[in-house]
């Protein structure tokens, strides 16, 4: 395995694992306040799935010689990134549905091709993750459908959440191809199978009819069907905002990392106790043998 391939895979898998773990925060934000017990159970199960995805992605990274503890330290120090989408706040319960619909939807577009990634352990992890993401997306969309059939205030909440998450969702596919230096290499290695712009277009084309079925307006006046191309045309993403958030200056960057750091450092004594206990047990077993 070429060293550069190994490094790129570790970076990609770690970034994905970190995204799952940081992604628990914006959605976990609404678990205790979920307005029905059924929605609470669904959301709780979803956030639990994200922890599970993080676990097996870190395991996939470990098959390449990485170490979970070390990757966590890199997440907390900012040396490794996670998906910038989680640096936006979840302001109402409708955000739970819109994250399922748009954010998980975009993630699926990005991740489904990765089930055929050239690195087996990652590809196999992605198969399971994509199945669960697709389940989450359907649940998110179903929540929005239910809310759109509810009161005017609920419909307004859904539209407001759609307005806030639409553009950040389009940013999830990364910079335009012309400004994505790693794409060509990654495609040669078959760890990436489509360009950022191809996936973004695919996402827009699939989402527009869903928005219509839902009864919400996507906040883009330039969005219209282009018969010639056979695709939807859409407006320009605010790439300055994208760069700002990636660089650490989004609404929640500092909060998300600080939360993770506090949880990790606050749990250090627990992990240490488990290690000391395991060592004591092993010593006792040896002494008894």
């Amino acid at each position: 395995m070429p060293d550069a391939y190994r490094k790129t895979m570790i970076r990609q898998i770690a970034q994905h694992a970190h995204s799952e773990i940081i992604g628990m925060q914006p959605e976990g934000n609404w678990v205790t306040r979920a307005p029905s017990l059924r929605r609470k159970a669904i959301l709780l199960a979803k956030v639990q799935d994200e922890a599970g995805h993080g676990l097996y992605l870190y395991s996939a990274a470990e098959t390449l010689g990485a170490d979970r503890e070390d990757l966590t330290a890199r997440l907390i120090s900012g040396a490794q990134k996670y998906s910038s989408i989680f640096n936006y706040p979840t302001l109402t319960f409708a955000d739970v549905g819109v994250i399922g619909w748009l954010v998980d939807g975009a993630a699926i577009c990005n991740q489904v091709p990765l089930c055929r990634s050239s690195y087996g352990p990652y590809a196999r992890a992605m198969i399971r993750i994509c199945k669960e993401e697709s389940f989450h997306q359907r649940q998110g969309y179903e929540l929005l459908m239910t809310m759109m059939r509810g009161t005017p205030a609920q419909r307004e909440m859904v539209q407001d959440a759609t307005n806030r998450w639409w553009w950040p969702s389009l940013m999830m596919f990364g910079p335009p191809d012309a400004e994505s230096p790693n794409t060509a290499q990654s495609m040669r290695w078959r760890i990436k199978r489509h360009t950022n712009d191809e996936l973004r277009q695919r996402f827009v084309d699939m989402t527009v009819p869903q928005a219509a079925a839902l009864g919400v307006t996507l906040p883009d006046p330039l969005l219209r069907w282009n018969d010639e191309r056979g695709n939807y045309d859409f407006g320009e993403v605010d790439w300055a905002e994208f760069k700002r958030v990636v660089a650490g200056n989004g609404p929640c960057n500092a909060q998300r990392i600080e939360h993770r750091r506090a949880a990790h450092e606050g749990g250090a004594w627990v992990r240490e106790a488990a290690a000391v206990h395991a060592a004591k047990r092993a010593a006792r077993k040896e002494a008894a043998a």
Binding site: I21, M24, Q25, G28, V31, T32, R33, A34, P35, S36, L37, R38, K40, A41, I42, L44, A45, V47, Q48, A51, G54, G105, I108, C109, V112, C115, R116, I127, C130, K131, S134, F135, R138, Y141, E142, L143, T146, M147, R149, G150, T151, A153, Q154, Q210, H259, A262, A263, G266, G267, A268, W269, V270, R271, E272, A273, A274, V276, H277, K280, R281
Partner: protein, 308 residues
Amino acid sequence: MGFDTAYEAISEEADTGHRWAFGTGCTDPLAGVDTTVPDGVDCADLGAYCLMLGDDALIMSHRLQQWLASAPELEEETALANIALDLLGQARLLLSRAGTADGSGRSEDDYAYGRGEREFRNVRLAEMADADFGGLIARLLVFSTWRLALLSRLRASRDPVLAAVAAQGVREVTYHRDYAARWAIRLGDGTDHSRERMRAGLAAAAPYAAELFERTHVERRLAAAGVAVDPPGLRSEFDEVLGTVLGEAGLEWADAPGLPGLGRAPGGTSAQAGSIGQAGRDGIHTESMGYLLAELQSVARAMPGATW
């Protein structure tokens, strides 16, 4: 699933979301169970009893949910979420049963979101906030040891619904108790600091334990009718299990005087003379309960008439 068509899953008509609805088991424990209230059982008492056990699970689950994204390790994130999900599933079944048993027709959500603090019937141990992971493990150990003793006896209830809920619950809470016991041993037999945190957690939970074994009039009547479990009868199993686990952990359970409730239990609702007085089962809670419910009910109450 075709990988290039995963996205199409969104348009599927079939909603398989129900597999989340009842916790780990993914099956409806009430499938095929006769939901008629058995002869000679007081419907109001049965409804009240379902609320007690359902509120214990709902409120304990809420405190576990507050640990999400804050656990010391990823494995603990998944385990604690799983326990919270199991208890939430038990709560949903029990609150739903309360609404059919008492004849009010109220739904699980009516009970969870529509009641005021004084109408919640959970023991105060369930609502206690955790100081740290040691506190959580101590409280979970006490709670699940008691609940497992209770549910394993409730499997023999004359009410087929309670018996079915208990049968499923025993499988779940066996795991919860095992999880808490393993961590109690690790912390007790770990570092000096972890032993101290575990000891402090047990000391904090101890005053809430007496209430677990108090008997309300509802429980006394239903136990006599073969429907409910008589709480004082759970004490010996509780002591034995805690003794074994904590012995292994190099710790011990120190009985503490029960945390007083308010006044004396009034006739018709609570326990005998010499008891802790009115407490969780009578709707008398700790100060933390109001904040817990404010969080739990905020969205539902802010938007009356909304559908979720």
